[in-house]
């Protein structure tokens, strides 16, 4: 076995997708940076989210419309949840894109999967952002015992 320094024994990663080089804007580079930057922020956002919703107080049993309404009535939690929504969805979908590139060797199959990823992310980001910012914690005509305690008596 001849292990030469020029042919260093580090194998290059294999991916079925063709690699495009020599572009002024290298999307793979920015994807790589994004995975790491969003990952660091997501650690804080997700662990905070899990602590407040699953651990503190009564855990998951405390969650109902009144609980979520109370949180989403505050700008702090609105921005917390929306940041998590955007960062996690794009991070997850970009990670899934890597995996599709690795395993789907057929170009058509690859593009169908990636199209599905883009569609899912765009729809869910729009939906989630709309829900957080157009949400009404005290919808008219709802039984008072289902609403947050700060809602005016109807």
């Amino acid at each position: 076995m001849t292990a030469t320094i020029e042919n260093a024994p580090i194998e290059s990663p294999r991916s079925a997708a063709p690699v495009r080089r020599h572009r002024r804007f290298n999307i793979e580079k920015w994807g790589w940076i994004y995975m790491r930057a969003s990952g660091v922020v997501l650690v804080v956002l997700i662990f905070g989210h899990l602590f407040v919703n699953l651990v503190s107080g009564n855990g998951v049993r405390a969650i109902d419309f009144g609980f979520v309404g109370g949180k989403l009535a505050q700008p702090f939690w609105q921005w917390w949840d929306v940041s998590m929504l955007w960062l996690a969805l794009i991070h997850g979908a970009n990670g899934m894109r890597t995996i599709v590139n690795d395993y789907a060797s057929n170009r058509l199959v690859r593009n169908v999967f990636k199209g599905a990823l883009v569609a899912a992310v765009v729809i869910l980001i729009l939906l989630g952002t709309l829900v957080v910012f157009t949400f009404n914690p005290c919808p008219a005509g709802s039984p008072a015992d289902l609403l947050p305690s700060f809602c005016p008596v109807q």
Partner: protein, 146 residues
């Protein structure tokens, strides 16, 4: 240098000793590979959970009744186990994600990747030791129907 350098390249770089066994790969075998496998599996699992989770949370925009009906499905012992699995998956993915970042940006990261893997496992065990008793209380209360 003990191993006699015989190849041309080794003659050109006499100060770099040849490894006795193929080395220099982070991703083949042992901790490097298994951490990658686990990172990939947990990443996919969390992604699919997230898709569903955004849809169920969006029901707060429909009506209190609709949201409560669906969220009550999470308050069963079976889903309690699912939540434990979810926390286990996210806990590993997050800790190992930080390890990946350290491998990439910390000068001695690649050298310490194996040690860092076991630190990830240790921190994950501590995390789960803190979370599981709390989650078992929840599951117990769900069984009792309280």
């Amino acid at each position: 240098m003990s191993a006699a350098p015989t190849t041309d390249s080794a003659k050109k770089h006499p100060d770099i000793p040849l490894p006795k066994v193929p080395r220099g790969t982070l991703y083949r075998g042992r901790e490097g590979m298994w951490s990658w496998v686990l990172h990939r599996i947990t990443g996919v699992a969390i992604f699919f959970f997230l898709l569903v989770h955004i849809l169920d949370t969006s029901l707060v925009r429909v009506s209190p009744q609709a949201y409560n009906a669906v969220i009550n499905e999470y308050k069963t012992p079976i889903m309690g186990l699912g939540e434990a699995a979810l926390v286990a998956a996210i806990g590993f993915h997050a800790l190992n994600g930080l390890r990946i970042i350290l491998i990439d940006f910390w000068s001695v990261g690649p050298k310490r990747q194996r040690l860092m893997f076991w630190i990830v496992i240790a921190l994950w065990v501590i995390l789960m030791a803190g979370f599981l008793p709390r989650q078992l209380m929840t599951i117990g209360a769900e069984f009792a129907g309280a």
